[in-house]
């Protein structure tokens, strides 16, 4: 495959035209995967022998937590692309993704709190992972607020990109700092290549389907929101030109 061809989608018009065709498929697939995964998980998996029926929360908690982190990663990559190659679609995609990531973080935190109540006996503990997610949420808030606060689109894209880069470094630092500061209640990784650590097989497959559903939903939402941002940007440009005349 010719990698250079990929850059053609950085052209806003081309992006709109291509996503017009792709978006319905991704949306339908994500809905199918989410419905199948959640119904499978909710109705057709047994209770865990220690955690009882609360284990069903895993089908929301783990995918949301995964997406909360991966959204920031995606924003980091698109910010870098904007800084290096100055493709507007890239910067706007980062802007479009931030609220999605923030909502995923809230879902992970909320389901975690509800799950923690019966299992750990408390809604909230200053467990390293919980704390890190709270900090991640603050980073999302700051990032979105900075986008909103600046009027000039290119300035906003530059500033938020740098914030995303610096924020990533500090988010990682915070992660280690928090780990050092308090030992956690969380179990080890739910999904890993090491079979021993994995969740039991009955929960594994529906969980994978749910994760696929969340990933597809994320893609669909980001495409949709990026299209909106492209149009909004074009509208601002047209209005500005109109005022000049």
């Amino acid at each position: 495959m010719n990698l250079n061809a990929l850059w053609e989608y950085a052209n806003p018009k081309k992006f709109i035209r291509t996503t017009e065709r792709v978006l319905p498929w991704v949306s339908v697939l994500s809905v199918v995967a989410l419905v199948v995964g959640l119904i499978w998980g909710f109705f057709f998996t047994p209770d865990d022998y220690r955690q009882g029926s609360t284990v069903k929360i895993i089908y929301l908690h783990v995918p949301a937590a995964l997406m909360a982190i991966n959204t920031w990663l995606m924003m980091l990559i698109t910010s870098l692309i904007w800084i290096v190659r100055r493709h507007h679609v890239s910067a706007l995609a980062a802007r479009a993704a931030a609220p999605v990531g923030a909502v995923m973080t809230v879902i992970a935190l909320a389901t975690g709190a509800i799950w923690g109540q019966p299992m750990w006996g408390t809604w909230w503990a200053w467990d390293p992972r919980l704390t890190s997610f709270l900090i991640l949420f603050l980073f999302y808030l700051g990032y979105m607020a900075l986008w909103e606060a600046i009027e000039n689109d290119d300035t906003a894209a530059d500033l938020t990109s740098v914030l995303c880069l610096v924020g990533s470094v500090f988010a990682l630092l915070s992660r280690y700092a928090v780990n050092f500061w308090n030992q956690g209640l969380h179990q080890g990784a739910s999904l890993s290549l090491d079979k021993e650590e994995n969740v039991a097989d009955v929960f594994y497959w529906p969980l994978l389907v749910c994760i696929a559903g969340f990933v597809l939903l994320f893609i669909a939402l980001v495409l949709l929101r990026t299209r909106t941002e492209i149009r909004a940007r074009r509208m601002r440009a047209l209005l500005a030109r109109e005022r000049m005349r």
Partner: protein, 53 residues
């Protein structure tokens, strides 16, 4: 309805909260998409008209 036992409230409320949040996010994204698309068409129409005379 599966037997949820004593944790029914926790499981159901976490599903309700998550699905509600996702629904709000999807709804807002769609609503804003429609509105911006309509506004852009209006502006483009106006610009085209002004450009002619």
């Amino acid at each position: 309805m599966p037997e949820l036992g004593k944790y029914a409230v926790e499981v159901l409320s976490s599903y309700a909260v998550s699905i509600a949040l996702l629904a709000v996010l999807v709804g807002l994204s769609l609503w804003r998409s429609r509105r911006v698309r309509a506004q852009l068409e209006e502006v483009e129409e106006r610009v085209r008209r002004d450009g002619q005379d």
